[in-house]
Amino acid sequence: MTDVTLTVNGQTRSASVPPETTLLVLLREHLNLTGAKLGCDVGDCGACTVIVDGMAVNSCLMLAGQANGRNVTTIEGLATRDRLHPVQKAFEDTGALQCGFCGPGAIMASKALLDDNPNPSVKEIRDALSGSLCRCTGYTKMIDAVQEAASVLRNEATKQLTDART
């Protein structure tokens, strides 16, 4: 067994798992965070995407042991009691969530992009979502959603700055 201690959505979590356990299985089976989905188990579909130390990662391809000591954010860590994360809100508003199975992965991939790049071009969005397969939306709504969320996040950042000055 491998002992893993990591930060998940701001909380320190520990588990003792068989060494072949993936980060996805650790999250889903041991920590009961079923938001990240298993779609292909080979890193093609992106339904299992979570953010590890700021990077979007296919959690089905990362061993739980490799996540030891790292900071993991899952879809469950985005919304607060008061509000949805702007990316979640935008995905909802634009209809980018249909069957919803790819949603958590696509939202996490989008969040990782926006954390890095507050004003991405369509090409950059396509690039960031290239690892997230969706069979319902045809992706256009997702691209709209990311642009909408980017604009909301930029306005919030500007407002915070002006508020701080006054």
């Binding site: 889903r28 965070l33 079923t34 938001g35 990240a36 989905k37 298993l38 779609g39 292909c40 188990d41 080979v42 093609d44 579909c45 339904a47 899952t74 879809i75 469950e76 985005l78 919304a79 009691r81 949805l84 979640q88 809100k89 995905f91 909802e92 508003d93 634009t94 209809g95 969530l97 249909q98 069957c99 919803g100 199975f101 790819c102 949603g103 958590p104 939202i107 397969l133 969706c134 069979r135 319902c136």
Partner: protein, 462 residues
């Protein structure tokens, strides 16, 4: 403001008040996101829905990652099932030895085809076994199912199951399969398991009256739905003999009937819970592994979950029909279509599934939205030793659309005419009748074509 709108608004107010309490997250999607006025409108009038943003009522849960698909559900004591696939396209099963798997620690039960009470199902013809018993019809057929305490043990157990096959002749090409001397997939039945003919006027006379004859063959490939959520189910056969199935199936009443048939259980003993489906597209319209999971649950007295791997999705679930489409059209020198003869050969794979429905729709729609007085369409769906084909968005319509529109382009090119012009010359009008004699209403083909052409600048492109 009419009364209806008022009532709706009042309902919305009530909900608004409730939401202000902010009882908890996740909250339901806001009600006002739905169009407030009922959407039924008269034909040819724009509905109020167009241009509105409508939020799906379930998307809040999806975006929060809170939706529970089958794989997110865990019942106490639950076992994990895996299915051994044949890996051979056509064979007789000589012997199955499951003792090695049964002896493994952690393996709780094994089920083979012979144990299924009625080992056949299907929406039109009941020609598909739950698990192959004597004969394997395609490589993705299941031959045994294992339930174990972990998925990993179940996977290892599959390797301990020994199956001896006697390979039999197989056929993979649908045109070859139509020949008399081709191996019969479901002997003694013919490989052509359904056909349809649509006849209108006299095509031979029409061809004789035409100035030009155009012929073309078009074919499409097999396509898998690849819904992001794989086929998955949990079966729980309880001590009172009642069976609860959690399944990611779109047609749950049909699935319940199929379960009753295959398990020889009265329908009243079967409770089928349709969970949120993570993408269907026609691929989750029938049962697959569910009866095997039910028997594993009966044997072990524990709930059993089965989730297809991505490769099983490709080899063992339904796909879109590949169709070989032969078109022959007689046209006047002005470009009017006088006669059209079509022959469709649908590759039906190893089982019927929704092929009969697909065949019908492909056949009826194959002449295209054009006024043609003389039409003859003959369509056949044929067994081959390949993954079964079934329902997929459009039921055969996209395949024939590709063919008749490509054919129209060929005709336009041959006559030196504009592709838009030739369509406008032949397209349906209000009150035109389809090849099957249906008089059509609300026909806006020409308006649509003209508007589309204007929008993307067809004139300047051609």
């Amino acid at each position: 403001m009419d009364d209806k709108t008022e009532v709706l608004e009042r309902e919305q107010l009530d909900i608004e008040i409730l939401r202000d309490v902010n009882l908890r997250l996740p909250a339901v999607a806001p009600r006002e996101a739905f169009p407030a006025v009922p959407l039924t409108v008269d034909a040819r009038l724009q509905t109020r829905a167009v241009g509105q943003r409508a939020t799906r009522p379930d998307c809040r849960m999806h975006g929060l990652g809170q939706t529970k698909y089958i794989d997110d559900i865990k019942l106490p004591g639950m076992l994990y099932a895996r299915i051994k696939r044949a890996g051979i396209s056509s064979a007789r099963i000589k012997r199955i030895d499951t003792s090695g798997a049964e002896a493994m620690p952690g393996v709780m039960a094994v089920v083979i085809g012979k144990e299924i009470p009625v080992n056949s199902f299907g929406p039109t013809f009941q020609d598909q076994p739950v698990l192959a018993a004597d004969r394997v019809f395609h490589a993705g057929d299941g031959v045994a199912a294992v339930a174990a305490v972990t998925e990993q043990i179940a996977n290892e157990a599959l390797e301990k199951i020994i199956v001896e096959y006697e390979a039999l002749p197989a056929v993979f090409d649908p045109v070859e399969a139509m020949r008399d001397d081709a191996p019969k997939v479901h002997a003694p039945n013919s490989n052509i398991y359904a056909s349809k003919v649509v006849r209108k006027g006299d095509v031979e006379k029409g061809f004789a009256e035409s100035d030009h004859i155009f012929e073309g063959r078009f074919s499409t490939q097999m396509i898998e739905h690849v819904s992001l959520e794989p086929h998955a189910a949990i079966a729980d056969w309880d001590a009172t003999g009642r069976l609860t199935i959690y399944a990611t199936i779109g047609r749950i009443t049909l699935a319940r009937a199929d379960m009753a048939r295959t398990l020889k259980l009265p329908m009243s003993r079967i409770r089928l819970i349709g969970t949120t489906v993570g993408g269907n597209f026609g691929g989750k319209n029938e049962i697959s592994q569910e009866p095997a999971l039910a028997l594993l649950s009966k044997k072990t007295g524990r709930p059993v979950k089965g989730v297809f791997t991505r490769s099983e999705e490709f080899t063992s679930s339904t796909t879109r029909h590949p169709i070989i489409m032969d078109y022959k059209s007689g046209v006047t020198k002005e470009g009017r279509i006088v006669a059209r003869q079509i022959r469709l050969v649908l590759d039906g794979g190893a089982y019927c599934s929704w092929s009969a429905t697909t065949l019908g729709k492909a056949c009826i729609l194959s002449p295209g939205p054009y006024k043609i007085d003389n039409v003859l369409t003959e369509a056949f769906v044929v067994y081959t030793n390949k993954t079964m084909t079934g329902a997929m968005r459009g039921f055969g319509a996209p395949q024939v659309c590709f063919a008749y529109e490509s054919h129209m382009d060929d005709i336009a090119k041959g006559l030196g005419k504009d592709q838009l012009e030739i369509r406008l010359l032949n397209a349906f009008d209000e009150g035109s009748s389809s090849p099957t004699g249906q008089v059509l209403h609300s026909v806006v083909v020409k308006e649509t074509l003209n508007k589309a052409a204007a929008r993307f600048g067809w004139e300047s492109q051609s």
